[in-house]
């Protein structure tokens, strides 16, 4: 087993004529927290979505947990077979900007459905674990509530519990607080901070610069489909090398 949980190598992604990713290389070690920052349209979310095959790459390679998900051979991208892709991407779990909770299921059922129905784990054990996860995100009392009855911050915390329930090797956060009111982003960030402190590997696409600086081991700055600069938070935020990063930080800080 390699040290890397996620390995993106020279990944290209096109939408028609638009090149969303122009050869991006990013590796994430076990236990590492990587934040991706950059303005809207820079390709951060696209990059994240290439890791778990929500987007198909047009060039380069993607590896998860030391296994190849997709690679480019003789100029052609080859993905694994569908069943193998599914097994591999279950080693990752994603938390979405718009939560994407299953509206017809209670919070508890949202957390248990994948372990029980997909991973075929023991329902009683899964239930106990799910209740523990809901407690971890501070929502013990909402186990039997439906997502429609929760606030945005609560929904996102259930979504985090749901992601953790499949015991992923790495968590992928796609702007987890961007759809929330400013006064409730704190409750979600608190949970993510806690997970980072416990050593969960994660890639975090975010507009929360303060938070990125605080929780990430490493920060990657993207612009125009490329990682322009990458390094320790103190260097990225304190001593930006590139003009583009300097301008970006000026605009957002």
């Amino acid at each position: 087993m390699t040290d890397y949980i996620v390995e993106l190598d020279r990944v290209h992604k096109r939408y028609g004529e638009v090149e969303a990713l122009r050869g991006v290389t990013l590796r994430v070690r076990r236990g590492e927290q990587v934040a991706i920052i950059g303005s809207s349209g820079s390709g951060k979310s696209t990059l994240l979505r290439c890791i778990n095959h929500l987007e198909s790459i047009d060039g380069g390679s993607v590896g998860i947990d030391g296994m190849i998900l997709a690679e480019t051979v003789a100029g052609r991208v080859r993905y694994r077979r569908e069943a193998e892709i599914r097994r591999l991407i279950m080693r990752t779990a994603m938390v979405f900007q718009h939560f994407n909770l299953f509206g017809h299921l209670t919070c508890l059922e949202n957390v248990t459905i994948a372990p029980i129905r997909i991973k075929r784990e023991n329902p009683a054990e899964v239930r106990d674990r799910a209740l523990e996860l809901l407690r971890l995100v501070g929502l013990s009392g909402k186990a039997n509530a439906y997502p429609g009855e929760l606030s945005g911050g609560q929904k996102q915390r259930v979504a985090i519990a749901r992601a953790l329930a499949i015991r992923p090797s790495i968590l992928l956060f796609d702007e987890p607080t961007s759809a929330l009111d400013p006064e409730i982003t704190g409750e979600v960030l608190k949970v993510i901070r806690q997970l980072a402190a416990q050593g969960h590997s994660m890639v975090l696409v975010t507009h929360e610069m303060g938070f990125a600086r605080e929780v990430a081991d490493r920060v990657a700055f993207m612009d125009d489909g490329m990682i322009v600069e990458e390094g320790r938070p103190a260097n990225i935020f304190g001593h930006p090398k590139s003009e583009r990063l300097r301008l970006f930080l000026q605009a957002v800080l």
Binding site: M90, F96, I118, G148
Partner: protein
């Protein structure tokens, strides 16, 4: 018009039998067409283009031609073909012909309602399911279809109320449902009362249905008090 108690009692047995036939056509058609609409709907959004074409042609044919024409085709048309090509199994009795025609016809309408319901579900639901390891089929049956239920109940109910009235078309191939019973009585007695009684029968059925649908909507509405 004679609506005396004695006359109503005379009419009652025939009209009740007719109403029974109407209800039977209604229920059998629902039992067959509600499930049949699902594969047609799924075919219509399939990744395989032959299935898509097949499903869309099916819907086009059954929605694009008069139900009465379809009734004539399945009763008279198939009967003629049975004789010409020596395929006796094509010959349907009146009642089965009605059930087959109505079921195929309503399946097309239900399929379109299902398809619209499925396509109204946010793509984020598919993405979340995919990242949790669901296959496309598992996603459809465990995540998507259950969430369409509440959205499709109003249009499906609307369609079934239309079906109550469409059952009267069975009269054109001589099935003794409520309208035929009323017309026969009216012609025999030169009296408009049977039509009023038949109208009351249809109204009673649709009234009960409306109550049932209100209950259904409430029940399936629990989890959708606001957008997800």
């Amino acid at each position: 018009m004679n609506l005396s108690r004695e006359y109503v009692l005379v009419l009652w047995p025939a009209l009740a039998r007719g109403a029974g036939q109407t209800l039977l056509i209604f229920l059998l058609t629902l039992i067959l067409s509600l499930p049949l609409g699902l594969p047609v709907a799924l075919g219509g959004i399939s990744r395989l283009w032959p299935l898509r074409i097949l499903s869309r042609v099916y819907v086009w044919l059954f929605r694009g031609t008069p139900l009465m024409l379809q009734l004539f085709f399945f009763y008279y048309g198939l009967g003629i073909m049975a004789g010409q090509y020596d395929l006796p199994f094509l010959r349907l009795d009146r009642f089965p012909a009605v059930i087959v025609t109505f079921s195929l016809n309503y399946a097309a309408y239900f399929a379109e309602i299902y398809r619209a319901g499925i396509q109204s579900i946010d793509s984020g639901q598919y993405e979340a399911a995919k990242t949790l390891g669901f296959t496309r089929t598992q996603t459809m049956f465990a995540i998507i279809i259950p969430q369409t239920l509440r959205r499709i109940i109003p249009p499906v109910c609307n369609e079934t109320i239309t079906l109550v009235k469409d059952t009267a078309l069975a009269t054109v191939i001589g099935v003794a449902e409520l309208l035929k019973a009323a017309r026969d009585a009216s012609n025999r007695d030169t009296n408009t009362a049977p039509y009023f009684l038949a109208a009351a029968g249809y109204l009673a059925i649709t009234f009960v249905l409306t109550l049932v649908y209100q209950k259904l909507e409430k029940r399936f509405g629990r989890h959708e008090r606001e957008a997800i």
